[in-house]
């Protein structure tokens, strides 16, 4: 029985590297992240610069993705949009993971009334579909970058509470936890230095899948107009603006949709690959 995460890491890494899907997924995601970070240098034009003479021009050499109804360069907007979309996705998932995991570990470790209250609360939150929950929160809080992150993070919290709690429940009964107790370690130290590392791999796997879902939620909210206000570009927002001219100028919607698709595929491959790699049963 492995008592420490460190023991099986080398094999995880080895298996991970053998998985083509995982590598391809990582490559896709890395490319997107680099594109987002380097947007100011990569983008050929100012994403918000309008040009009345270049309204709705199809893709050509000067504008690889064409221009939108304001004559803005779609490629530049997709690149800059990646910043917002990925930023919202990462920050909100990270917040959801940290808060959710902390609550879940505490609930699972102590059990009793705390646990029952936490479970009841997550049941309530989980009964709302993620998108509806996000929509409700953004509608109430108002559409802004901060509120968007809060809304998506809140939708992620209950899932991670559940996962961390379940895993902690089984960890709690392990011998090494008893050993820690015997040694007189504080609860806090046992929870976060001994239990947490042992459940971390599961959480990382789920986080990568949730990241995809968070980015999709952001795009969906932007599509229905509940995102960062104009002129800031976000992928969902560009798709929506393109929707007005979908029949004449499909490029406006197609390119940001492809960007969303690429990130979704990448993150799902990463999630699946990580799961296979960390699952002891899946060892070849």
């Amino acid at each position: 029985m492995s008592t420490s995460a460190a023991e099986f890491r080398p094999s995880v890494l080895k298996r991970a590297l053998r998985s083509g899907g995982l590598l391809f997924g990582i490559a896709l995601v890395v490319v997107m992240i680099v594109a987002a970070i380097a947007a100011p240098w990569l983008a050929p034009h100012d994403p918000n610069a309008q040009d009345v003479l270049l309204v709705l021009t199809p893709p050509d050499a000067a504008h690889l993705f064409g221009t939108d109804a304001f004559g803005r360069d779609v490629l530049s907007r997709v690149l800059w949009g990646a910043r917002i979309s990925l930023y919202v996705g990462f920050v909100s998932t990270l917040a959801g993971v940290i808060i959710g995991t902390a609550i879940g570990v505490v609930a699972g470790y102590y059990g009793g009334i705390v646990d029952r209250l936490v479970v009841a609360a997550t049941d309530v939150l989980l009964s709302f579909p993620q998108l509806i929950m996000g929509l409700l929160l953004v509608a109430v809080l108002g559409a802004s970058l901060g509120n968007l992150i809060i809304a998506i993070a809140v939708t992620a919290i209950p899932a991670f509470v559940r996962l961390a709690r379940g895993s902690t429940l089984t960890m709690r009964e392990r011998d090494f936890v008893d050993a820690c107790r015997t040694l007189g370690f504080s609860d806090l130290r046992i929870m976060f230095l001994h239990v947490l590392p042992n459940i971390l791999d599961e959480i990382v796997v789920m986080a990568s899948l949730w990241l995809a879902s968070a980015i999709r939620t952001e795009a969906t909210l932007a599509f229905i107009g509940l995102s960062v206000p104009p002129p800031t570009a976000t992928w969902g927002g560009i798709v929506r603006e393109g929707f007005d001219n979908l029949l004449d100028a499909p490029w406006m919607s197609i390119f940001p949709s492809l960007a969303i698709l690429a990130v979704m595929i990448g993150l799902n491959l990463v999630g699946d690959g990580l799961r296979d790699a960390t699952d002891p049963k899946g060892a070849p």
Partner: protein, 514 residues
Amino acid sequence: MKRHLLAATAATMVLLAAHSTASAESVLNVGMAAADVGQLDPHRATTTQDKPVVSWIFNGLVRFKPGSASLEELEPDLAEKWEKSADGLTWTFHLRKGVKFHGDWGEMTSDDVVYSLKRAADSKTSSFASDYAPVASIEAIDAHTVKLVLKNPIPALLGIVANYHGGNIVSKKAAEALGADFRIKPVGTGPFALTEYKSNESLTFTAHKGYFRGAPKIDKIVYRFIPADSARDLAFTSGELDVVYGRQDQRWVERFQKENGVVVEVVRPSELSVLHINQTKKPFDDIRVRKAIAMAIDSKQMVAFKGAATAIAPVSVVPVGYLGTHEAKLHPHDVAKAKALLAEAGFPNGLPLKVIQTSLPTMLNSMQIVQAQLKQVGIDMQMEVVDHQSWHAQIRKDLSEANYYSAARFPVADVYLQQFFHSRSTVATPTAVTNFSHCKVADAEIDAAAIETDAAKQKQLWATAQQKIVDDVCAVPMFEQLQVWARHTNVDWGYKFEGAMHLGPVVTEATSKK
């Protein structure tokens, strides 16, 4: 056995086919760019999606000739004839007899007319109360005669008793019985009665068989709310909609003009798009900052974005073609001067401008152009985008630093000036209409012009008022937009559709669908 079955099926099909042709209803499907209805109480209805509908349900004492938006072409409606006294203060209207309200609400009499006009004049029940401020009394002489006395002569009296805004005649019994429900259960004398309202989906109207001009040729109108432009366009192209609210957009007009069996109708009145600047919010109380905004806005470029097929450049803070519109001296587009003015006002590095903005695509798109233009002089326009109804509510609470509003009004300068630029109409006050800027520089001229009997002097007063408003930068006129509608050729309005006071086609008893 098989053959019998086949024969029976064939017979049934023939029968069904015969049945469906015999009872085929003539249903007119109209698509509107809105999520839901606002207000169908005619004395409250101000939004684009409500106005056309109101014109199908109600009549006035006189009416705009269907298809026209001109004051010159008013014609008798519920009143057959009228006389005015020599001093222009006393007007007597003789009502048509035997006019029936929808459903079981009985016959229209002078009681209903007196009730309706009084209701329209009361700010508790009407959004147009200020239009009726000059009315001293309205009384019924007998069941079919109404006398209206004015405190002072007004520019266009027939305008306030026409089938527009407050002039719509409602059923007294119904309005009293239904109370607040009248908003979605309006009862009038018009050719169509509202029979069903599905929230966020549609309104269904049924022909008013007892309509006094004769039973309508169309049996039913389904007025569908489709806020997404592309969804609405697709529904129209696929034939699901017979008539569609067009986009005020060059490309849209060009695209649909090319389609077979489609007629695009670009009609007056134009709606003037204006950026109202709230003078009570700092630093916009400083005229230099307001002037900088005016100089940053390039109306020529806005017209270019919107396209020459539907947009024209503004001439004043009152739409072109109204009685009394004056070609004012507008602030020229001058980025360098705007920047200098901002620096002088203490904002060399620019400043933020926080606005509440509707998510309605056409308006949001225009505002994005303004946003980009303002950015060139260093003004950072921050939009809080909300849905259209919330936007209408919030801007009336004086929450926005500037407000983009696009409107057509009764075609007399007086109405536009009163509602948008007279201090009496300031939002969030008891007499509020739509003065979002807290403009008050031209009160004296507007008031004087309203009671001036000499036409030339009146025009001069209106001209002075408009120039003062421009100079004080209460608002920046940006562009004027004509109304765009499209129909399939099988729809015949029954008149030539050139203008629409109600911002949409009037469906009359003569309108038909093949």
